[in-house]
């Protein structure tokens, strides 16, 4: 795992989850700015677990643009798990809920897409880094925010994801940014217990 300015280069064999993510992202990035967040980022960075979904923010696009994205995904053998009507799916997104995309006829794994609504969502979308996987590239939201946010979510899995992301990248993180988000999310005690602990 090689850290460079704004990117992490990985030379790992691609998992089926990576191939699935890459195939959908290749289509999504033709239509909208995006950032992968949450657990799949921890998995990309080596966490030893599987996930049924990949969380992704896309910038809020017009209905016209969404229809193009919808057709492009359908043309490429993907389907929308929670509906087959573009108008209905777009209204789910506008309602700050998520839509799920999977390989046609399957439920898992799936990509869960949301429009950003909270300030942290916009921050993730606007402060990204690239994960290079051979000839492929995945754009991920701020690692510092992801770590702090995972602590805030607080399930056992989330805390483990936070510890993993922190431990593999601690020499390259912006500690000022991480501390800022830990404070903003009121996670000082949890960070002291799980991250700063020797």
């Amino acid at each position: 795992m090689k850290f460079q300015e704004g990117k992490i280069i990985l030379k790992k064999p691609l998992t089926e989850l990576d191939e699935f993510a890459i195939s959908i992202i290749k289509i999504i990035c033709r239509h909208a700015k995006y950032a992968v967040v949450s657990g799949y980022v921890a998995i990309l960075l080596g966490r030893s677990r599987v996930s049924e979904d990949i969380d992704l923010f896309i910038e809020e696009i017009s209905f016209k643009k969404f229809k193009q994205l919808f057709s492009d995904l359908e043309k490429n053998e993907f389907w929308f798990v929670n509906g087959d009507d573009a108008t209905e799916l777009y209204s789910i997104l506008k309602d700050n809920s998520s839509i799920r995309i999977a390989v046609h006829g399957r439920g898992v794994p799936n990509v869960e897409i949301k429009f950003p609504s909270e300030e942290t969502d916009f921050y993730s979308l606007n402060n990204t880094f690239r994960i290079i996987l051979g000839k492929n590239e995945i754009i991920a939201g701020s690692l510092e925010l992801n770590i702090a946010y995972k602590l805030r979510l607080g399930s056992q899995k989330d805390i483990e994801d936070a510890i993993h992301m922190f431990e593999v990248s601690k020499e390259h993180l912006n500690m000022e940014t991480l501390s800022y988000f830990i404070k903003k999310l009121k996670m000082e005690n949890r960070a002291a217990e799980h991250l700063w602990k020797k």
Binding site: K12, L17, G46, S48, V50
Partner: protein
């Protein structure tokens, strides 16, 4: 039904120990990822993820 005695304190202690052990492993694995070539940890991760997804396809 036969009455059995359940020691809830013991279960809670085991739960705490299990969480502690898991967190130890997460740190161990993160350190392994940090200090080994991607191919090594990536190969192991691939087996884990691909087999889980294969199971989900069935």
């Amino acid at each position: 039904m036969e009455k059995i005695r359940i020691n809830l304190t013991k279960i809670d202690e085991l739960k705490k120990k299990n969480i502690k052990d898991r967190l130890w492993f997460v740190r161990y694995w993160a350190n392994y990822v940090r200090t080994h070539p991607d191919k090594e940890w990536g190969g192991q991760q691939k087996v884990l993820i691909d087999s889980a997804l294969k199971g989900a396809k069935k």
